[in-house]
Symmetry: C2
Subunit: 151 residues, 2 copies
Amino acid sequence: MRMALAQARLAASQGEVPIGAVVVYNGQVVSAAHNQRETWKDPTAHAEIIAISEASRRLGGWRLTECDLYVTLEPCPMCAGAIMLSRIQHLVYGASDAKGGAVESKTELLKSGLWNHQPKITAGILADECGMILKDFFRAIRALETTRRDV
Amino acid sequence: MRMALAQARLAASQGEVPIGAVVVYNGQVVSAAHNQRETWKDPTAHAEIIAISEASRRLGGWRLTECDLYVTLEPCPMCAGAIMLSRIQHLVYGASDAKGGAVESKTELLKSGLWNHQPKITAGILADECGMILKDFFRAIRALETTRRDV
C-alpha cells in the first residue's frame, strides 16, 4: 500500500486525482499505476484499470487468479467490475469512498453473490493516509479556484 | 447497430467473443471497436471500454456528454461503470445478457439512482441478430472442443 500511495502522490504532482494501485503476483510487484484521466483524456484511465491491464500483459494472460490488487481508494463500479473480470484473488484498499465506492459504500458489487468471481477483500489499510492525500488535493484545487475568482 | 454488429463479426473472425461497440457524436461515428480480451491478453479490453477510450481521445476530453454508445450486448458491471464515468448520454444495446448484464439482467446499475449520471437507455435493437452471433460463436467452440476430445 505504501507503493500505491507513492503512485497516488505522483498523480497529484501531475494534477490528477491522487489514487494509486499496485498488482502483486507471488510477492512481486507486476504493475503500479495511478489515475491518468486528465492526461490521457480517458474516463476509463483509473489506477486499477491501468494496473490490471499492465499486469495481464506482463503475465501473458487475462486471468489474474493469483494476484492481489492494492489500491488507495475503494473501487468504483467500473473498477470493481474489472476486478471481477480479471479474477483478482485479493483486493486490498485504503480509504472508503462514500460518494462512489462500489465495494461497501454505495453498493456491494463484489459481495452480492451475483457474479462468478468474488475476491477476498481487506479494507481500511492506511486509510487515513490514503484519504488525506485526496482531501489535500481537493482542498488545494478549491483554494486555487478561490484565488482565481478573487483576482 | 449494424456497424457494431460488423465489429462483432470481426471479433469472431479473430477468435474473440463477438461483441461490438460504436460511439456516435452529432451523427458521426467517432470510434468503433470489438472485444480484444484474448488478443491483447487484457480482461478490461471489452468493446465498450475500447470504444469509449478511443472516442474520448479523439474528441479531446473524457466527458462524452453528447455521445451515444451502441453495443451489441447488454454491458457488464465494468462497462456500465465506464458509461457512467464517461457521461454517455444514450446507451443503445442489442441482446440482453442474462449471465452478466448490469443494466437490466443481473443488476440495474444504470437505473439505481445511486450515481451522478444515468444515461437514457434503449434496449433490444437488433437483439436477435446480436444474440445469434454469440450463440453461433459458442456453438462452434463447443463443436471444436467435442471434435478435439473425439480425436
